[in-house]
């Protein structure tokens, strides 16, 4: 492999990682135009709770997250395979959702994986297919302040 090929792969891997992280911060800030910009115009998603074209799915997410006081999408384990102008990526996420319910505050925490198919566009890498695999979820009361 030439230095040029090595550099290209590093740059592509970093750009894909940046894109997946940009999605997480944009969702947590509820910056929907920025969330939408992570996807191709014709992207499709299956979030297990809801599925369809990206606009339908983002509508579900926006309405669903409105019930929470705050959310934090924490990303970890990440792998990506780049083949020319397409890529697949798997990213682990532990998503914290704080909600107010009868009896006080609670945290819904979901351990899941984003399974993405990506494409290189003139504007950079974009997600064209996103599936979510849910590994576990919990609902825990928030412990009282000390």
């Amino acid at each position: 492999m030439s230095d040029e090929e090595a550099l290209r792969l590093v740059v592509d891997r970093q750009a894909i990682r940046d894109l997946v992280h940009a999605y997480a911060t944009a969702v947590d800030r509820r910056d929907w135009p920025r969330v939408r910009a992570c996807f191709t115009p014709d992207a499709a998603c299956d979030f297990s709770w809801f599925r369809g074209d990206v606009d339908t799915v983002l509508g579900h997410i926006e309405r669903g997250l409105a019930q929470f006081e705050t959310t934090m999408h924490l990303l970890g384990t990440h792998l990506a395979d780049v083949v020319a102008d397409t890529a697949t990526a798997e990213t682990y996420a532990v998503c914290h959702h704080r909600l107010r319910r009868e009896g006080g505050l609670a945290d819904r925490v979901v351990g899941m994986r984003y399974l993405d198919a990506l494409v290189r566009t003139p504007a950079g890498w974009r997600i064209r297919r996103r599936d979510v695999a849910v590994d576990w979820q919990r609902l825990d009361p928030v412990s009282p302040a000390p």
Partner: protein
Amino acid sequence: MNARAAYDATLVRDVACRYARGVDRKDLDLVASCFTPECAYEGALGRGTIADALATLRAALPRYERTMHFMGTQDVAVDGDAARSETYCVAYHVRPDGRHFTVGVRYLDALARTADGWRICRRTVRTEWTREDPASLPG
């Protein structure tokens, strides 16, 4: 850092994540492909060779409905055909009754460049903390 060094660092970071994917998908062949055959291992799965550790892992996996090895902080240094990496992991283990066993560990790895790519040739696992949580609230 030149392009080649950055490329190697990316591949070294990938090895820890491939290990996570292999364990969590119960794909022991993928797990084994992260190590050299003679890799030395010391940690939660015992002390000896990687083959011993993988036998222990194989026996332990059915205890859990699901595992998630959530890799975070990674500190990687590449020196020619050798590398070292330290990877933080919060490993979630879901028991069949819904209880969660959660472990905070550090993987301290020495890696070697082989004909099949980067492989871990010595792994030490340091468990920093564990906790057991009851099944969560319904809903």
